[in-house]
Point group: C2
Chain length 373, copies 2
């Protein structure tokens, strides 16, 4: 078995679980006539991108110009960079926009003027709306600002005003179907209202929403044009806590050698730290931190059957992980054994690792691959 | 100026500050006749390694076998891997030990047997002692376990028992000179006692301690043989909070474009998130989180003169950073400007970035360099 040969921290990808996640959401969007423009910042992989393409996806979302270039080189021709446009990258934007249909997000008129004046290439322009996450975006009630921005975009022949885009990131604070549904409804209503308010002047505007809890948990997407979730390709413990997936849907796991055991504290030390998992954590009952939960190696992949009985990761330093056991599970590993861990936040775990291996040992690329291992 | 040309998140290295940090500690150790075996896990750079070599350093510490290979390839010949030995990497250990004087840490007799039986190459073996950090190591009072381990090491002709090694990581919880001094004294006393207890049977044993607060703040190192601090090469906001450095000693800063401003919340959004800074934070008065503090771009580098008056980073998502301003500093940046940030934990920031640029634009290597930018 490939897993048995792993000698250092490695991010395993379960192809079956991953393809099932992709298929489920592609089908759901297709059935409801909603465009799925998946966010590729979670996997950042050309190979996994092809799995989406096999499901009929041909429009994607990324979070940086560099990531857009990576996927453009793999043949993707319709790419939205869902991040406030960074005008310092004007040269790279020019190059990219001459190759693909490039979508950019704007939040102010000076950036619109910059793009209109400094670039002759055609660009699809979205206005970023803040539907309640309060990270970035224009509030939907600021109609006069939005109208001024829309008119400013129209002034420039190379800029095509395509619509209003929002990220309902506050679903991440939700812990139930009802809460996620409320956030989704509220976000969608705000965008629909904008689409209607601008319909006379701009009859073809689109509205785009994107977050994994909403896309996974909401049954009926309603009158949205486009969805841009990303994390659902892998899911993770955070999504499981929200209720967006089951533990068994999580498609990546960190394989980490156990290097020491401390019976006096019922703890193991694993080779696997902040530089492998990243440092996001869940807060469990009683205030304890959890940086990962252990699954069992079985049948060439892993099983989640014993997650509740298994130890969990309570602390990460640069390369060490501290695992808290109890009397019933301390015996499960000794130094030299391999342990497998579901990550708290799979986007960041994949990014720090910069590569994956399928459970049968196939190398899977990542945009931010490391030169040395 | 190079800094003005930066278009995306970049980790800047101030060569003058970094070399001053290296020089200060090398000189202090030299004056006290203590071996400095600096931990290279913070910078992970061959170029910065050469700056240590110019100060007379020829013994180093790393945190993984891969990192040891990286520095062995750069000509370093005496390398301790300060991490519990990972016997799953036996092949790489064999290769490395045939090229350099390789030091490994053991915590149990089964690992000793494994190294003695499976490797014919000479290895320097340290027993890892837990001086109170409670991450990993044998407690110093477990004399009979330690004696059994020492005898087991001696059984194998290829294993050379060199001494007791500890990491007083609990200085990171300290917030004063007195606390750091107490931890140092206590840790050193425990190791000295062990050296004496084993002196009849093993007269040449060494004791090795390593942490940046101790090495920076303790005036007299006392009867220690070797020190292995790492972070002092850059320092960071965490070390400044402990009292191990001043803000002006911090030798790295993240350069991040400002991409949006939100006057209604007095916030900026910067292009710079968890994948650039990593996610360690400080908790400020009132419970607010701080992921970075802003310095001013001046004279081709940066100035810390206004740090207290500048905004600070309150939140990081994958690629976004949220900066909290007030009425006095909100005007300092508009979209398209570059902002500079002192990191909370420089080891992790350098690791996620995988490269540096000096303030005059020279590329500086990192072991975990990314292929694509």
């Amino acid at each position: 078995m490939f897993i048995d040969t792993i000698s250092q921290p490695s991010l395993l990808l379960d192809e079956r679980r991953c393809k099932a996640n992709i298929h489920r959401l592609c089908q759901k969007a297709r059935e409801q006539g909603v465009t799925l423009r998946p966010h590729f910042k979670t996997h950042q992989s050309k190979m996994i991108g092809r799995w989406f393409n096999h499901e009929g996806i041909d429009q994607i979302t990324v979070s940086s110009i560099g990531m857009a270039k990576y996927f453009a080189a793999a043949g993707w021709e319709d790419i939205t960079v869902a991040f406030p446009v960074n005008i310092r990258q004007v040269e790279e934007i020019r190059g990219l926009a001459s190759e693909v249909n490039l979508g950019l997000l704007v939040l102010d008129t000076s950036s619109i003027d910059f793009l209109g004046t400094n670039l002759q290439v055609p660009l699809s322009i979205w206005i970023k709306i803040d539907v309640g996450t309060h990270r970035t975006g224009i509030r939907p009630e600021e109609i006069s600002s939005l109208a001024a921005m829309a008119e400013r975009i129209s002034k420039y022949p190379n800029l095509n005003f395509v619509g209003f885009l929002a990220h309902a990131g506050h679903t991440y604070q939700s812990r139930s179907m009802t809460e996620v549904q409320q956030v989704y409804n509220h976000s969608l209503a705000a965008l629909v209202e904008l689409r209607e308010a601008f319909a006379d002047r701009f009859p073809d505007l689109l509205i785009s929403l994107g977050d994994t809890p909403g896309a996974s948990m909401v049954e009926q997407f309603g009158p949205v044009d486009e969805l841009r979730p990303g994390n659902f390709v892998f899911y993770d413990l955070m999504q499981e806590e929200i209720g967006a997936c089951t533990l068994d849907d999580i498609a990546v796991a960190m394989a980490c050698p156990v290097v020491a055991v401390h019976p006096e504290r019922m703890q193991w030390i694993i080779y696997g730290g902040a530089i492998h998992f990243s440092k996001d954590f869940l807060t469990l009952e009683g205030g304890r931190k959890c940086f990962g939960r252990m699954v069992d190696i079985t049948g060439g992949s892993w099983s989640t059957a014993n997650v509740e009985r298994n130890p969990f990761l309570i602390s990460l330093s640069q390369e060490h992980g501290i695992v808290q056991c109890n009397e019933d599970n301390f015996h499960l590993c000794t130094p030299g054994d391999l342990s497998l861990w579901l990550p708290v936040h799979s986007c960041l775990t994949a990014d720090v690792m910069g590569e994956y291996y399928t459970t049968d040992g196939q190398y899977v690329d990542h945009y931010r691959q490391r030169v040395y291992k």
